[in-house]
Structure formats: C-alpha cells, structure tokens
C-alpha cells in the first residue's frame, strides 16, 4: 500500500526535539512508539505513532499494553501521546477481527489511566487524521500540535472526491468555515487543539507547561466557541442539558 510521503523531519528528530537526550528511552518498532522519557526533569510515559503509519490491530494492542504497564508500574506518571498516522489500517481482515474493538480497548486503557490520576497530553507531530486521531490522540486531556502537523478529518481534495463537491467550492467555503480547512491552525480554531507550537518554540518547555496546566475537564467546545471556529456545538449541548432538566 502507498503511504503518503512527507518531507517532515525524521521521527527520531521529532523525539529528540520533544524529549532531548531522554528520547533514547523510547522504542520505535513498526512505526509504533512506546517508552519512558523525561520532560522538565520529571518522568513521562510515551506512546505514539510515526512515519504516517496506518494503525492496525497489533499496533493498537502494543499501545494499550504500554498504557497498562504505565498504570501498573508507574502510578500517576503523565502519558504523552504522539500522533503521526494517516488513519486506521484499511484492511478486511483487520475489520473482520474487530479493529473498532481494538481501538475501543485502547481508549478504555487511557480512560483507566486518566481515572487513576495520569495526565494525558497529546502532541500531533505529523499526520493526525480521521480514525487514527480519534483512537487515542483526541482522547487526551489537552491536545497540542506542531505547526507542521497535518491535523483534521481529511484534506479538501479527499473531501471533494467523496462528497463530489468541487474543490474550489470547498476551498472558498473553508475561508469562513474553518472546519472544512485542513491543518493544525484551523483545527485549533475549532477547539480541537489547545495550542499550535511553531518551529521556533521551545517545545520541551511548552510540553512541561502543558503537563503542569493539564485538566481533565474537556474544554474543546468552549474553545471552539471562543475562537469562533465552532460556533454552535457548545450552545446546542447546553440546550440539551437545560431542556432535559425540565
């Protein structure tokens, strides 16, 4: 299968930028990352993907196993989730064996970690697309993205191919509806990303701060409204909550 190519920095370079010398504690196997590193002098658990890999059943299990290891052996250690994946493995056998359930299991493991006091911080480092982002990264307490990351449902060209709406129409609309635009910045306008980190930023300091300021309260709808990218979600949710009381 073709994998989308990119001219992004190597996976090791990204890890070194985020974790300095402690990045050596992160294993990279079949584009799945697991390990322990340090941020601002404190230990963190790291799970993730790299090289824009597709996430299959085995990858989901390896990520889940590492989360379980962290919960069992490193109580309350923050978990940093790195995302560079183009999507779920589009494969019939993967589907037959219940890829959705493997993802559900990974999410359950992360939920367990959250309930047991582990902070969950996501950094979208490369591609963070569709199901690959939903199956762990978007489940973080707080989600960040490198400016160079490709974040979103899908690029406008792909959206056009499926919906049969011409690319220029979607491009024009995306100027006023950032939800249709693809990338870290428009995703942040929707509240889906807390903050975008630029090439100039000291990302180790940013990550340390992100861990320190983390909260388990999901603030994405509030952010989306405040930033103007997702104007309706919060109010509709509030109306459901208010009318259900009556």
């Amino acid at each position: 299968m073709k994998k989308p190519t990119s001219k992004k920095p190597s996976a090791r370079a990204v890890l070194a930028r985020l974790f300095g010398a402690s990045a050596k504690g992160i294993a990279m196997e079949k584009s799945v990352l697991t390990g322990y590193a340090t941020v601002g002098g404190a230990g963190v658990c790291v799970i993730g993907t790299c090289d824009g890999t597709y996430i299959d059943n085995a990858a989901a299990l390896r990520l889940a196993a590492h989360v379980i290891d962290c919960v069992e052996h490193h109580p309350k250690t923050p978990i940093v989730m790195l995302v560079d994946s183009a999507g779920q493995e589009p494969n019939r056998v993967a589907e037959m064996l219940g890829l959705a359930s493997y993802f559900g299991h990974l999410l359950s493991c992360l939920e367990l970690a959250r309930r047991k006091g582990h902070k969950l911080i996501t950094v979208a480092t490369g591609q963070a697309i569709g199901g690959a982002f939903i199956c762990y990264g978007m489940f973080g307490d707080r989600i960040y993205a490198l400016e160079s990351a490709s974040v979103g449902l899908m690029p406008i060209e792909a959206m056009s191919a499926v919906t049969k709406i011409p690319v220029p129409v979607l491009q024009k609309l995306s100027k006023t509806l950032p939800s249709l635009e693809f990338g870290a910045k428009p995703f942040a306008l929707l509240g889906g990303v807390q903050e975008v980190w630029s090439a100039k930023d000291d990302v180790q300091a940013k990550l340390a701060k992100a861990i320190a300021n983390s909260s388990t309260e999901d603030n994405r709808a509030e952010l989306g409204k405040k930033r103007g990218g997702r104007k309706l979600a919060l109010d509709v949710r509030k109306r459901v909550l208010a009318s259900s009381l009556r």
């Binding site: 019939r92 589907e95 959705a100 299991h105 569709g130 979600a233 509709v236 949710r237």
Partner: protein, 292 residues
C-alpha cells in the same frame, strides 16, 4: 420470534416509539426548534430540522432512560456539528442524572460536508460516554441496520458498556467500498454481500464477543435485550482491561493470518457453516453458544 415490522426497515422515530413504553418519549430539541446545519445550507444540500438525530427522555420497561436514534436516510446518519453536539449533550445529561443512555446507531461516521467539527464532536461524545461509565450509568449501543456503525461511530460504539446487534447490523471502521478501493477487489469484493456481512455483520461480531447480544430483527426483541442490560454496567478497571488485552491478543494470534471468515466461525465453535449462515440471529446465538 416476534411478528410486526422489521427493525431495520423502520425509521428512527418509529424505532424510538417501538422501544419506549407507550407515550413515554419526550423529544429534546424536537424538529419545531429548527436546528439545521449551516454547513449544508451553504453547500446547497437539503437540511433536516433535527439534523439527523432524534434524542429525548423515555421509559423502557418502566425504567427511565435517555434514548437517541440516528436517521440513516439523512446524509447516512453522519455526524455534523449539531448532530454531534446533541449526542454529547445527551450522554452528559445521562451522566449528570445517572440515567442509562441508549443510542440506536445508524451512521457512516463523521459528516464529511462539515469537516473536522463532526470528528471533534465524536471525540467529545466519547468523553461523555466514559463519564457515564465512571458513574456506573449504563450506556448501550444498538446496531441493527446495514448502514450500521462505521467510521468514528463504529469506534464510539465500542466505548459503550454494551452493544446489542441484529444479524442486519454491521460494525466496523472502514467500509467495504473504501477497503476495495485501497486493497483491490481481490482483497475485498464489496459486492460480495455474504463476505461483507461475515466481515462486519452482527453474527461475526457476536461470535468474537464484540456484540453482547444478537437478537431478532424486531423492536420487541431489541427492547427485551436493551431492558436486560439497563440494570448492568461495566466500569473500566485494571483487571478488566488486562483480561481484554489478553483476549484481543489471543484473537489476533489465532485469526490474524486468516482471510476466510468461515475459518473464524469454525474457530469460534460454529460446526455447520451453512446452517449458521441461514440461521436467524437468536438461532445463530444458540448454535454458536458463545464462550463454550
């Protein structure tokens, strides 16, 4: 076996009326409130006054529930900003009020016409579902149509405590047409309906343990299955996830190199493939004796 209309042929509102105790359903943000998608308007696509999701309060067997049904006829039941916000709100209300939440899923996942907004809404709803689970508030997904639960909604369904399926229901992430496009017709012929259902249909999902009940394609049977689960919950625990990890590892080891769904059925204890293929949901469940 029950008589009456087939569940998969009913509309979302008919399904809700058939599951809820007579007259007990009170819709929240009903169509007169005219909550329509601004995205679809700008794209010149017809809108729906409920944005393709019916939500409300109801009773099932005298027990209070929050009940929702996606409208598959409207953009494939796909999740846009409003649709998704209604879903998040309902599960949040369920967690707040400690009232079980039942979701009849009929959705291909994120509504592409609304881009990433629907994707974020699904992620937010997952958080709300786990809020319920932490409070031991039961969350139940019903998957009973060929539109099924796909994409982000397939993943979301696996976050609920329980999944009730019929043999018509399909559960997955990537649909057959997408996979065929990627892997070729040899790897997945999306026009081979038997193969499609053996890959993602209720029978296979029940056999593998991803569906908790496999019932007849009728409202009575679905309601009975839901009613039985309303008193139960399965909060996330270390013991639970460790067991599940082992189970999923074993499944992958046993069947990871198996292209033939019949081999999976046989491996899971089905002796007569032909009889099992023709069996109704409950007959199949009896034949298969899951866990044996």
């Amino acid at each position: 076996m029950t008589s009456g209309p087939l569940f998969h042929e009913q509309t979302a509102r008919q399904r809700i009326a058939a599951l809820a105790d007579t007259g007990s359903f009170a819709e929240l943000l009903p169509p007169p409130e005219r909550l329509t998608s601004p995205y679809l308007v700008q794209l010149g696509i017809p809108v729906s006054f409920d944005d393709g999701l019916v939500i409300g309060r109801a009773k099932i067997g005298g027990k209070k529930v929050y009940l929702a049904a996606q409208v598959g006829q409207f953009v494939g039941g796909a999740v846009g900003e409003i649709h998704g916000a209604k879903l998040t709100g309902l599960f949040k209300a369920a967690a707040r009020d400690r009232v079980p939440c039942v979701l009849i899923i009929e959705s291909g996942g994120v509504r592409l016409h609304e881009g990433s907004a629907g994707e974020i809404a699904i992620a937010e709803t997952m958080r709300a579902i786990f809020e319920c689970r932490a409070k031991k508030v039961p969350t139940i997904a019903v998957i009973a149509t060929d539109i099924g639960a796909y994409g982000g909604m397939g993943i979301l369904s696996t976050c609920c405590d329980f999944r009730v399926m019929t043999e018509h229901g399909r559960l997955g992430i990537s649909g057959p047409i997408v996979i065929e496009k990627w892997m070729g017709k040899k790897a997945y012929d999306s026009s081979n309906r038997a193969l499609v259902w053996k890959t993602s249909g209720g029978k296979t999902k029940y056999l593998l343990g991803d569906a908790d009940a496999l019932v007849h394609d009728g409202a009575d049977a679905v309601r009975d299955a839901v009613a039985k689960l309303l008193g139960k919950s399965s909060p996330v625990s270390l013991k639970g996830v460790k067991e599940r990890q082992k189970e999923l590892e074993k499944r992958l080891k046993r069947f990871g190199d198996t292209a033939d769904p019949d081999a999976v059925w046989k491996g899971m204890g089905v002796r007569n493939i032909e009889a099992a293929s023709l069996a109704s949901g409950p007959e199949f469940a009896a034949l298969a004796k899951r866990g044996k």
